[in-house]
Symmetry: C2
Subunit: 188 residues, 2 copies
């Protein structure tokens, strides 16, 4: 198992001992496109690391769903809200393609955090990294208009543009699908 994990960027800061500890609790599972791995209205017992495939995190509103995160191979799929507050939250996690994932029990992760310094710091860095990315997106909503945000998304996430439905990308960028269509039309 640890050979497979070793290839994933997010584990590169871990030495072999720490990685083995994680790997011991790790199981490789497959799920089909459309599977909702994490439900907003439940406290889910697992977190995942994408081995292959694409996922999105979304939040349900009255009339719409907002996609606020995309995950690709190597990314951690984790409902931070349910995991920190031990309560159902606002995050759903859905697979947008048939995927294979490493699955780990959250209880095991917590135990590792409480026993193993390197893993606690690894978990800290994952959250910090995600925080910076989210903060930047929030700032970009103010600094950049929808057209700029779309163009940068195209440049920075060429894989996602190819493989993800535009309706999801529209809500990720903070506009309606109609607006996204207009942007794309004027970009030709």
């Amino acid at each position: 198992m640890q050979e497979k994990l070793r290839n994933i960027e997010i584990f590169s800061s871990l030495n072999n001992d720490s990685l083995n500890l994680l790997a011991r609790h790790c199981r490789l599972v497959n799920h089909r496109k459309g599977t909702v791995l994490i439900h907003a209205d439940k406290v889910e017992p697992y977190f995942y690391i994408l081995e292959s495939g694409i996922a999105r995190a979304y939040s349900d509103g009255e009339n719409q769903q907002i996609t606020f995160w995309f995950g690709q191979a190597g990314d951690v799929l984790l409902s931070y809200n349910s995991y920190i507050n031990n309560k159902p939250g606002y995050e759903n996690l859905e697979l947008l393609e048939d995927s294979s994932l490493f699955r780990i029990k959250l209880l095991d992760l917590f135990k590792l955090y409480d026993q193993h310094l390197a893993l606690a710091n690894w978990g800290r860095k994952i959250a910090e990294r995600e925080l910076i990315a989210t903060e930047r997106r929030l700032i970009d909503r103010s600094f950049k208009d929808a057209t700029q945000r779309y163009r940068e998304f195209v440049n920075q996430q060429p894989e996602l543009i190819k493989r993800v439905a535009l309706k999801h990308i529209a809500s990720y960028l903070g506009v309606t699908q109609v607006t996204l269509s207009r942007i794309r039309a004027s970009d030709k």
Copy 2:
């Protein structure tokens, strides 16, 4: 020092030993309103915990500044980008009132993270908590219009409304000051 720290909510999960370790590196400093404690174009050597006063984090654009975070007594003032990537970033931190703050050298914090399990987990939880708050704000930008965002801000942050200039609150909410004025006018 640790008696003072003990009163701060963010330290409540730490036992006395851990808190003492932190307190040993902690110095209480005072700064005047308007002081920029952390500059986006520098790698700053300290992080702070607000003892009293109010602060904002902002990012500079060509024609405007975006305020993306407010801090009040008990909050951690930290440039995550500079601290994670060890590079200048996008975050400025300015005091909006005369303030007193606990100041700690980031190098000391890093050492503590690498040596002390409880503190590493403490740092992890701070980042995770901040991540959830930021994620929610990003989602709210899509789900709620400016009027709703303003009203919720008023309800949830009554202190900030009283003490912070509206121009900063406008940019925090993701609208121009003119729009915020209109919302306030129609709310009477």
